[in-house]
């Protein structure tokens, strides 16, 4: 575990979380959430939890993003906040 890389990726993760909640477009929020999941997966790989990182990369980043995009296309992209 290299603490410089860990702190850098943690800051990127926090920025992506704020961005995913703050952006005015739901499709953009879904894509930012996918990037957030991939950064989180990288963080777990650094911490030595390779099995958790693998599951997050396939299930969290892959399937969740597909579900979000499908749900946004079936409903509406408009959001007030």
């Amino acid at each position: 575990m290299i603490w410089q890389i860990e702190i850098t990726i943690l800051i990127i993760v926090i920025i992506l979380a704020v961005g995913a909640l703050g952006v005015k477009d739901l499709l953009g929020a879904a894509i930012l959430f996918g990037a957030y999941s991939f950064m989180m997966c990288l963080l777990w790989a650094i911490m030595g939890a390779v099995d958790v990182a693998f599951t997050e990369a396939s299930v969290g980043a892959g399937v969740s993003t597909v579900m979000f995009v499908a749900a946004v296309f079936r409903t509406s992209r408009r959001t007030e906040d």
Partner: protein, 131 residues
């Protein structure tokens, strides 16, 4: 004061996890859009999982796979050379549960949109009161 500063600096990554957790809680409570609420819920879940994983991490330790295979000579295994695998196994289950809740939540959102043609909480409440 010096002791407090010491705690603040030595536990810096824990403070960042708490910030991430609070961002998720903010998303659940303040955002009016239902999809934004679900994103906040997922951020909260991953922040808790991140905290548990970081508890198991150790300095100068390798991933939890024993290097001596089944047919080689038995050597003493020191637990301090391996990262604690117990939080990994618990959080693996939590990730799968998170995806299951996400699927159910998005299905409910799609059904709500079919019924009321909007995703904003206040407009949904207004249309419920109209009918």
């Amino acid at each position: 004061m010096d002791a407090l500063l010491n705690i603040l600096i030595s536990k810096a990554n824990y403070w960042l996890y708490i910030i991430l957790m609070m961002i998720g809680l903010y998303g659940i409570m303040v955002k009016k859009n239902l999809v934004k609420k679900i994103i906040g819920l997922n951020i909260l879940q991953t922040a808790v999982i991140l905290f548990f994983i970081s508890v198991g991490a150790k300095e100068k330790a390798t991933i939890p796979i024993i290097e001596h295979g089944n047919d080689t000579v038995h050597a003493a295994v020191s637990a301090s050379h391996y990262i604690n695998p117990l939080p990994h196994v618990l959080m693996l289950t939590a990730i799968v549960v998170a995806v299951a809740t996400l699927g159910v939540a998005l299905a409910l959102v799609i059904r709500i949109h079919q019924q009321y043609h909007t995703l904003e909480e206040e407009e949904i409440l207004k249309r419920i009161q109209e009918t």
